[in-house]
C-alpha cells in the first residue's frame, strides 16, 4: 500500500537548510493501523504530510498504491488525494462558513457528485458518527469531539483506501480522545489503512504498529505482538519518571 524508500526532506529556513527526514524506509500494508511517534522536531508530521501528498520530498521514492509519488502536478495530486486518501487534522480544518453536512459533502463536490446526492450521503455518514441532529450546525456551534467526528465523516465519504490523521486527539480531552480512537479502530476494521501521528503513548498503544522517529530516522518499529511488552516497558518508564 505504502512504500517509502530512503526518503529525505529538508526545509530551508533562512540560510541554513534544516534536514528533517534523513532517509526513511517504511512499508505499510493494506488494512494496517499504524501510529507514528516521536518527540517534537523528530519529523513525524513531515512524514505524515508526505504520506498524504500534502508535501513533497527531495530524495528517495514513495509508492502509494503502486504509483510513484514524485514531482507530481498539483492537479494529479489533488485527484489522488481525493480518490485514495482521507485526512483528519488536529485543528479539524472544517470550513467555517459551511455547516456540518456541507463540510462532509465537500469531497464529493470535487468528484462531481450532484448536490442532492452528496448531501444525502453526507447525512448517512453523519448518522454513523451519531451527529445527525447536528447536520445543519456550523462548526463554531460544535464541541471539539463533534468537530473531529465531522472531520472523520468528511475523510470517509470518498471511501478512501487510507486515512491519514495528524494528532487527531491532540485538541481533545481523554474521554473524547478514546471515542475518536474507537471510531478510527472501527474504520480500520472495515479494511481501511489508518496512519496517525501522535505523541501520546496510550493513543499509540491502541494501534497495531508503532513507528518511532528520532532525529529524522526511524529508531524502532514495534509490531502488534510486541505491543504488550512495550506497554509494560512504557509503564515502567512512567513509574521511574
Amino acid at each position: 500500500m505504502i512504500s517509502l524508500n530512503n526518503v529525505h526532506k529538508s526545509y530551508v529556513t533562512g540560510n541554513s537548510p534544516l534536514h528533517v527526514l534523513k532517509g526513511i524506509d517504511l512499508e505499510i500494508g493494506r488494512g494496517e493501523f499504524v501510529s507514528i511517534m516521536g518527540s517534537s522536531g523528530s519529523g513525524k508530521s513531515t512524514l505524515l504530510n508526505i504520506l498524504g501528498i500534502l508535501d513533497n520530498y527531495e530524495e528517495g521514492s514513495y509508492y502509494l498504491n503502486g504509483t510513484l509519488i514524485r514531482d507530481m502536478s498539483e492537479k494529479k495530486a489533488a485527484k489522488l488525494r481525493n480518490d485514495l486518501l482521507g485526512f483528519v487534522f488536529q485543528s479539524f480544518n472544517l470550513i467555517s462558513f459551511k455547516n456540518a453536512m456541507e463540510n462532509v459533502a465537500l469531497p464529493l463536490y470535487y468528484q462531481g457528485v450532484n448536490r442532492k446526492k452528496r448531501n444525502k450521503i453526507a447525512l448517512e455518514y453523519l448518522e454513523k458518527m451519531g451527529l445527525l441532529q447536528w447536520a445543519t450546525h456550523m462548526p463554531n456551534e460544535l464541541s471539539g469531539g463533534q468537530k473531529q467526528r465531522v472531520a472523520i465523516a468528511r475523510s470517509l465519504i470518498t471511501r478512501p483506501k487510507i486515512i491519514v490523521a495528524d494528532e487527531p486527539t491532540g485538541a481533545l480531552d481523554t474521554t473524547t480522545s478514546y471515542e475518536v480512537m474507537d471510531i478510527l479502530k472501527e474504520i480500520n476494521e472495515d479494511g481501511i489503512t489508518v496512519v496517525i501521528v501522535t505523541h501520546e503513548h496510550d493513543i499509540a498503544a491502541m494501534t497495531h504498529k508503532i513507528v518511532r522517529l528520532k532525529d529524522g530516522v526511524i529508531s524502532e518499529i514495534i509490531k502488534n505482538g510486541d505491543l504488550k511488552e512495550w506497554k509494560h516497558q512504557y509503564r515502567k518508564e512512567l513509574e521511574i519518571a
Binding site: L54, A78, R81, N93, L94, Y109, Y110
Partner: protein
Amino acid sequence: MFDLDIWQEIIATIKKNKMRTFLTGFSVAWGIFMLMILLGAGNGLSNGVAENFMRDAVNAMWLWSGRTSVPYQGMKENREIRFTNADYDVISDLEGIDKASGRYFISGNLFSYNNEFGEYTAVTCHPDLKDVESIEITNGRFINPVDINQARKSVVLGKDIYDALFKGKEAIGEYVKINNIPFKVVGICREGGSTRHRNAYLPVTTGQKVFNGANRLHNFALTINAGSIEESKVIEEKVRTAMARKHKFDPEDRSALGSYNKLENYLETMKIFQAIKIFIWIIGTGTLIAGVVGVSNIMLIVVKERTKEIGIRKAIGASPRSVVGLILLESILITTIAGYIGLVLGTGLMEGINFLVEQQFAASAGTNGGNGDIIFRNPTVDLNVAVSATLLLIFSGALAGYIPAKRAARIKPIEALRDE
C-alpha cells in the same frame, strides 16, 4: 464551468460572507457611480454651453467695406471701396455661399407711433438675413422678396420696440414713422441668442431709395456651406478675391475689405470644449483607477483570508483550476452585479437631475421669451462608455483575484493549511 453546481457553491459562499461581498461590491458600485456623475456633469456643461452657442447660425460670415491701406495696380492707398447691389449679385452667386444679405446704413433712427417714440436701430436687409442672424418671428412675417423688388415701405419691429411703441396693442398693419417716414409694420421679431430685441428690419432697396442710398451697400451678412475651418477659409478667400478683382484692391488688404468668420470662431471655441472633455476623461480615468485599486486590494485580502480554506479544499481533492475558478467566478459575479447597481443608480441620478434642469429650463424660457439661460443641459453619459467602464472594473477585479488565487492554488496544501 457553467454547470449549476459551481454556481450553487459560489452563491452559498457569498451568502455566508456578507461583509466581504459587500466591500467588494461597494467599491465597484461606488467607482461606477462616481464615474457616471462625473462624466454626466461634464457632458451636461458641454451640452449646455454648446447649445447656447448654436443659437446663432454658426456658419455666418460678415463683410464690410473700408479704405485701402496699400497702393494697388497704380492706385494710391486710402481709396474708399464702395459696395453696390451688383456686388450683392456677385456674392450671392458665388459657390459655397448659402444665404446672403446686403445692408445699407441709414442715418437717424427715431421711431414713433402716435405719441410714443424712441431711438432704435433700423437695419436694412435682404430676406436671407433672417437665417444668418437666427431672427425669430413671433408675429406676422419677415421682409420678403416682394418687399425688395417693389421697395415697399415695410418694417419688422424687434420685440422691445413693439413693446415700447405699441404697449401690447395689435401692431401688424399699423404704420410707424422712422425719421418721419411712415412704414407699415409687417412682423414682430426676436434676435436669436440675445435678450435684447432693439433692431427693426427694413427692405434694403427701400432703405436705399428713401434714404438716398442709390445702389450703395455697406456690408454683407452671409452664411457659407463649410464643415471645417479650412473649408470656411477657402470660401472667405474666394469672396475676398472676387471683391478685390472687381474693386481693384489687394486681396490681402484687410482694411479695404473687413471680414469676420464666425465658423472659425465657433470651431476655436469647440476646441476648448474638447479640452474640457479631455480633462473630464482624465479625472474619470483617475476615478476608475481608484476603483480598480480598491477592487484589487479587496481581492488580495480575500485570497489571503481564504488561503486556509484553499488548503482544506486542496487536501480533500480540489484541483488548482477549480480553486482559481471558484475565486474568480465569485469575484466576477459580485463585481458584475455591483457594477450594474452603480450603473443604474448613477444613470438614475443623472436622469433625475436632467428632469429638474429641463423643468428649470422650461421655467426660465417661459419668463425670458423662449431663451432659457442655462449652461447645464442633458447631463447623461453614453451607455457604451458606462458599460465599458463596468467591464474594465470587472476585468481588473478578476485579474487582481487571479494572480494571488493562482499562487495560492499552486503552493503545497500543507503550506496553505499552516496559514493562520
